[in-house]
Subunit: 359 residues, 3 copies
């Protein structure tokens, strides 16, 4: 592996020292604000490296595949953590982290990307076709989540909820969403690979080999996954004293810390005016969570005491649906600017305020 | 009538023999699986002939008018059947068949068309302007259905539903939707006929005369209407034993069998890369049901014991609304591909699963 | 001030005589149909002058700034009236007038503009980018209104609504919406002023000076504000005898009379084929009400006995949300025609019928 391209990033390499530091602080002082700060600083260079690696992969294989690999690596850790939580019976936390991740990617990652990119570039353009298909995929997922919630709502109005029916409905819908995801891979990697990986006019020469980029992405992802556990642990320790709900924590913290990979990569790409890659990272990650991670968790829950059903809280469901609607409105013209980024962040703030007060 | 153009379709003419066969089987053995199979096979060539006739009309008068005639013929039979059901007091079945027809046209007919067309052609384009206006018309209809449902919801929360108020509201809204339809005809046939009937670059020579095409369309439609009664009767006979709800039956069976005309024509046109005609068939049929058939049924119900109100079940209403939303997302760019077709079919599957388990 | 350009408008100057006439009638006969008629006739020339002034300002500074000034002047009077109503404890009336104003601008003002303009011009085009950003701003406002309503809905289902929580949530969301508005001004007046003020190909020479136009706009606005109080007062006097609800009155009367400024200007501009200015007037007014007037009223209510919370009635909230959806569908292609105008007006009619019967 050729490390020379990393030389200009001495500052990042220095910040990496916060990774061992955060571990030491955690062991010596236990969870708390110092761990949170150290781990947060340690994640910064990792997210940066993930962004660089994604950019290099994008140069080799196109923004669609770069975004897919970034999303897959980033979501793999989320999936593993969720599987452990599922085994521990924490279904509500898992669900909250799923919706939090979707909302965070759509509103915060994309919003900050458009804002950061828009502060440098007056107007940025990206493939309407690719973002349109991602939007439709998200809508399909939203419809898949509406139906079980509607069943619970109707059943409660007329009597008791039949949990067996809810389990079967969730499994059926999970199977359909999973199929939609598999067909989507076939579409974006095979039959219509060119939509998601347009040849840019000024073909850039990759600075890293594809193998090096993949290795950097993999190692950074694993380190981010481990490192992001520390602040989550620290927050959990102080949650009760701050009086925050599990839902707020799951939705907000996961959206910010849990999506560090997407944040780093998408914002970096937007600043460099590579909006196709930036949007591919954020939207591929979102559709992957909705159409792949969520169904896989439903299937995996068959091996636990209780099936993870797809009926989300009305608050979460509406937040995901409204985030999808505002995103569709923002990306529909294939152009972005700083104010559209601000509006996405504002919607995130509104949802954050609502979740904070949620009973 | 010149039958020579029908010669290459010997296979279809042979399949037509299943029509008398299905009648014989029905008379001898009574309703059951054999009738269902024979009638199903008999509908195939009829739908095919409807498609051919629609294509020829389209060559004579443009895709907008071809689609309108196909939709009108197809929906005429649905309207007649619904009027009889209304006279028999089966309002819930009529409503379920209306929403089933809308959902079926938007998701299944359009989805299978885009899928079938997309398997042959990498990307297919159609008029954004025409599909955009159809989408807005559907949205208007959805809003017309939301208001009575909302009234019932609010009234139930605070006390009893005033059926007189609900009747008057339904009649008022039906009148508005009907007016929107009439203005729409004026728009699409008079002032902006060119939007819906663009002159294609390579003008095709019609193979049939307009009169012959109309006759084939008429005869096929009548036969399909009669023939589709057989499987519906058969299903009804076995419904109880299979434990299916009326809602599921109405929504799913009507969506598939009752829209045979639209299925045949739209899919055939998509495969032949005439997406403007394919989309005109499916969307004109849907807007006609929402803005013409439904209001006419409300008015007709004034002559029965009870007004057919426009308050649909929440499940049906949300399904229609979400189908409209996902359709809007798919057609917004004026292009389609096989995966967008798959996504529409997947949404249909999700709704089907939900209706199957509906309490 | 040069009054010569007003000469061709002798008819309007004559109609202005109805303004003193309406005052006299009101003093002599008291509220009733004569006052209503006289005041209505007096508003017509005022709305006309506002339209002319807005057009002239648009020639000087572009449609975005013309629309903003028209909206600001028009909404200033609404804000003042609302502040008085708030001080009098009439929170429900204030809220109804806010949603009525939004619905009226989106559906009636824009609908009549597109209809009137479309009767003269087959197809009219406008900036997709500007209308797209306004649509997204409206969506953000809708999301801001959904969250408090959802809190009330959830809290009622599980127990009692915590009014303190609702107050804080409303204040938090109002602050976010206000911030979104301020950033929007920065965007539309500074960084991306060209999006909202495109240089038209055939640059028209202003006939009035900017100062004269501003003065005409100011004086007309003040007169309209005073004059529109008369019919509102008359209606209130006869409301009980007609059996209309406060909600219906607030929503419908405000939408028609209270938006006289927007009606006059937007319709006049559409007829003159200046759709950018027409849409700027209607949409700027709407976003200003949702993101500026509403938050300011929430803040102002801190000085009254009770905080004005942002939880609107489900009927109002859904009407605003659906109006936004249908508007998004209509403006998404950057073109309009008479039928799209009819459809917007039809949606307004559907909502009007629903509000009329609202329990």
């Amino acid at each position: 592996m050729d490390l020379r391209p990393l030389r200009p990033f001495a500052w990042a390499l220095v910040l990496l020292l916060f990774i061992p530091a955060s571990l030491v602080v955690d062991l010596v002082y236990g969870p708390g604000v110092p761990v949170f700060a150290a781990a947060g600083l340690g994640i910064v260079p990792l997210a940066w490296f993930m962004g660089l690696a994604t950019e290099e992969i994008g140069k080799h294989a196109g923004p669609g595949i770069g975004g897919l690999l970034n999303a897959t690596f980033g979501n793999a850790t989320e999936l593993i953590i969720a599987l452990f939580a599922l085994a521990g019976g924490l279904q509500d936390v898992v669900k909250a982290s799923l919706s939090g991740s979707i909302i965070g990617n759509l509103l915060l990652v994309l919003g900050l990307s458009m804002l950061a990119g828009g502060l440098r570039h007056k107007s940025q353009s990206f493939s309407r076709e690719a973002s349109g298909i991602h939007t439709t995929m998200l809508l399909v997922a939203v419809i898949g989540l509406v139906m079980p919630a509607l069943y619970v709502f109707s059943a409660r109005a007329t009597g008791a909820v039949n949990t067996l029916v809810l389990d079967e409905m969730s499994l059926g819908i999970a199977a359909i969403l999973f199929a939609a995801y598999v067909f989507g891979l076939l579409f974006s990697l095979r039959t219509h690979r060119d939509i998601f990986n347009p040849v840019s006019e000024k073909e850039e020469k990759p600075r890293w080999s594809l193998r090096a980029a993949l290795l950097v992405l993999l190692v950074s992802t694993v380190l981010v996954a481990g490192e992001s556990e520390l602040p989550v642990g620290s927050l959990e320790a102080t949650r009760a004293s701050l009086g925050l709900t599990n839902l707020f924590l799951g939705v907000v913290v996961v959206a910010i810390v849990g999506n560090a990979a997407e944040h780093g990569s998408a914002v970096l790409m937007a600043v460099r005016n590579k909006m196709d890659l930036s949007i591919a990272v954020a939207m591929t990650s979102t559709t992957q969570i909705a159409l792949f991670v969520a169904p896989v968790l439903v299937f995996a829950s068959l091996f636990t005491a209780q099936v993870m059903t797809l009926d989300f809280e009305l608050f979460e469901l509406l937040s995901v649906a409204l985030a999808t609607a505002v995103l569709a409105s923002v990306v529909s013209d294939g152009r972005s600017n700083w104010y559209e980024g601000v509006l996405l962040v504002m919607v995130y703030a509104v949802i954050g305020v609502a979740f904070y007060f949620h009973p």
